[in-house]
């Protein structure tokens, strides 16, 4: 990296994901404007900036509130696990209460400045030897003091004084439109150097939170909006999507798919760090494939993790035992973990964070998700794409094999939207299709793609019995399976059949 470009040093915030997106944190000893509409988590961000400083870096903080009473902040932030009151007693945290005082009317009788506020800030910084400071939110001071010219120049004076004291600070400000002027009252005119924007956008009836670093004067950062989520254990978590680098290691080690016949079709099994997509209509055997994939892991004493978004635990365990697989024992042995959740419970960002946490904690060697389509149902196109990229890159980074299932909308052939987003980042695609032949519905399986390996290109018959799935002989005399229009092709009848179809269509 070029040292000249990064001449402005940054202070690591400790807010998950932010230091990555901002390439190092907030510009050190400077004031950054944090702007956002109502409910965009400005106060949480401002508080977390100080809280992470105290708990991770032993850097004390000062919080200046222009709006919320101190008591409310202490109480609200305790739910994130930030013990502000305790920190205050330990002299690690100091409040400066600049919130409007009710029942105290005042009159203006002439010229004034905000000298007392500045003196109080300096006092609090000195008292705690603070390195970090948050002001929340400066819009409120413009409503307390109506002379905007005085307030503006005084805030500028405060920002300058903070720089002199070697304090890295955040100023929050309101904005009205999600995509409009940066902040109300022309705040950005005096803290122009660094601007971070928080958004809370309503998209297809779903809330989506994003963060964008609009500018960092004299230093670089990642561009664009990054989704983030607020968790009650750890506050803001930013998901750095495009910041994920394509530098996963590639492995030649094969692992079993759980089915010997499928392993043979794949030239010896899946690669250890590959992503496999199983696509098919309802009832073609996707959940079975995920189940077998789990069993393949547990039988080799590998830790296996299944995220189920369509069926309950009871259903899954019953189905598995119907195929001769004992999930219960595998779980008791600690080789299997099954996580069942309704996709509707939370937004996709929260699902992603939760799934990552479970993976971090359980440390599986293989993961299956059944199904992606269920998750797609509860999200917008954009956040679904981000979810897929976030999850696959995370799994790959951990060198875990991932098997995702996806439901096609039509019974015969067809493709799902899911595939459109995921097919390019998957290493292997397995198609499951219904095949109508001789007045009977049969199932077909084919390995459509397998990155970095030879594979069998036949469309083979798939049968399911009490021992699970079996892959049989290829359908030699049926064509049009994948396009969802299977027809028998008998020798000598090809011409006649072609004519028949021409007449019908």
């Amino acid at each position: 990296m070029n040292e000249k470009i990064n001449s402005i040093k940054k202070l690591q915030t400790g807010i998950p994901g932010f230091d990555h997106v901002s390439k190092g944190g907030l510009p050190i000893n400077r004031t950054t404007l944090l702007s956002g509409s109502a409910g965009s988590a400005k106060t949480v961000f401002a508080t977390q900036f100080l809280a992470e400083g105290i708990s991770q870096f032993n850097q004390n903080g000062v919080f200046i509130t222009f709006e919320e009473p101190i008591e409310d902040i202490r109480k609200n932030m305790l739910s994130f696990g930030w013990p502000i009151e305790k920190w205050e007693k330990e002299n690690k945290w100091a409040f400066v209460d600049a919130s409007p005082q009710p029942n105290e009317a005042y009159v203006v009788t002439g010229d004034y400045d905000l000298g007392a506020l500045l003196a109080r800030i300096e006092n609090a910084v000195k008292k705690t030897s603070a390195k970090r400071l948050s002001m929340d939110s400066i819009g409120a001071i413009f409503t307390q003091f109506t002379d905007t010219f005085i307030v503006r120049s005084e805030l500028f004076r405060i920002a300058y004084a903070l720089k002199k004291m070697n304090v890295t600070s955040l100023m929050t400000a309101e904005r009205i439109d999600e995509y409009g002027e940066i902040a109300r009252f022309g705040v950005e005119e005096f803290v122009t150097d660094n601007v971070v924007i928080l958004r809370n956008i309503l998209e297809d009836e779903k809330r989506r939170r994003t963060i964008e670093i609009l500018k960092y004067r004299g230093t670089n950062h990642q561009k664009g909006e990054y989704p983030f989520s607020i968790s009650h254990e750890s506050g803001l978590i930013i998901i750095p999507l495009s910041a994920i680098e394509l530098k996963q290691k590639s492995s030649n080690i094969r692992i079993t798919s759980g089915s010997q016949e499928l392993d043979e079709m794949c030239n010896g099994g899946f690669f250890r760090d590959s992503i496999i997509l199983v696509s098919g209509a309802t009832g073609t055997g996707k959940t079975l494939m995920a189940t077998e994939f789990m069993e393949g892991g547990t039988s080799k004493k590998e830790r296996s993790l299944l995220f189920a978004f369509e069926e309950s635990r009871e259903q899954l365990f019953r189905n598995a035992s119907g195929w001769g697989i004992d999930f219960e024992r595998a779980e008791k042995d600690g080789l299997l973990k099954v996580v069942c959740e309704y996709p509707e419970v939370t937004g996709l960002e929260d699902h992603l964070i939760k799934m990552k946490e479970i993976i971090e904690e359980y440390k599986p060697q293989r993961v299956a998700v059944d199904s992606l389509s269920a998750l797609e149902r509860v999200s917008t196109l954009k956040s679904f794409r981000e979810f897929i990229i976030g999850l696959t890159s995370f799994i790959k980074h951990k060198e875990i094999a991932g098997l995702f299932t996806s439901t096609t909308t039509s019974l015969m052939g067809g493709s799902s939207i899911t595939e459109g987003h995921i097919s390019t980042i998957t290493d292997s695609i397995i198609l499951l299709r219904y095949v109508e032949a001789y007045g009977e519905m049969r199932r077909g399986l084919t390995v459509l793609k397998m990155r970095g390996s030879k594979h069998n290109k036949d469309i083979k018959e798939l049968t399911i019995d009490e021992n699970g799935m079996h892959i049989g002989k290829p359908f030699r005399n049926v064509s049009g399976i994948i396009s969802g229009n299977p027809h028998l092709v008998l020798r000598g009848e090809v011409d006649r059949l072609d004519d028949l179809f021409n007449k019908e269509t």
């Binding site: 005082q101 009317a105 009159v107 009788t109 002439g110 004034y112 000298g115 007392a116 003196a119 109080r120």
Partner: protein, 92 residues
């Protein structure tokens, strides 16, 4: 007449501070005689006191007695408003 308890917050020895102190003393002498107690606090010397009283602007004059508490902001040049703030003008 009830005794007046007044606090005047200033920032340093500036022309603005002097103006406020001068004007206030004049008003007090004229309107309150000896029935008042005035504390002048420089926030640069006693920031904690400003913290406790939650003062933001300087000059700020706080009338804590008699009730109700009133805050008067600015260098007090608008004497009419100062008198209203100190409840020394009977609203006609």
């Amino acid at each position: 007449m009830a005794k007046y308890l007044l606090k005047l917050y200033i920032t340093g020895k500036t022309a603005r501070s002097d103006r406020a102190i001068h004007t206030l003393k004049k008003i007090c002498a004229k309107e309150l005689g000896n029935e008042y107690e005035l504390n002048i606090i420089d926030v640069l010397e006693s920031p904690q006191e400003a913290e406790d009283d939650k003062v933001l602007a300087t000059p700020t004059l706080i009338k804590s007695l008699p009730a109700p508490i009133k805050r008067i902001i600015g260098d007090l040049t608008d004497i009419e408003k100062v008198l209203i703030g100190l409840d020394l003008v009977k609203n006609a």
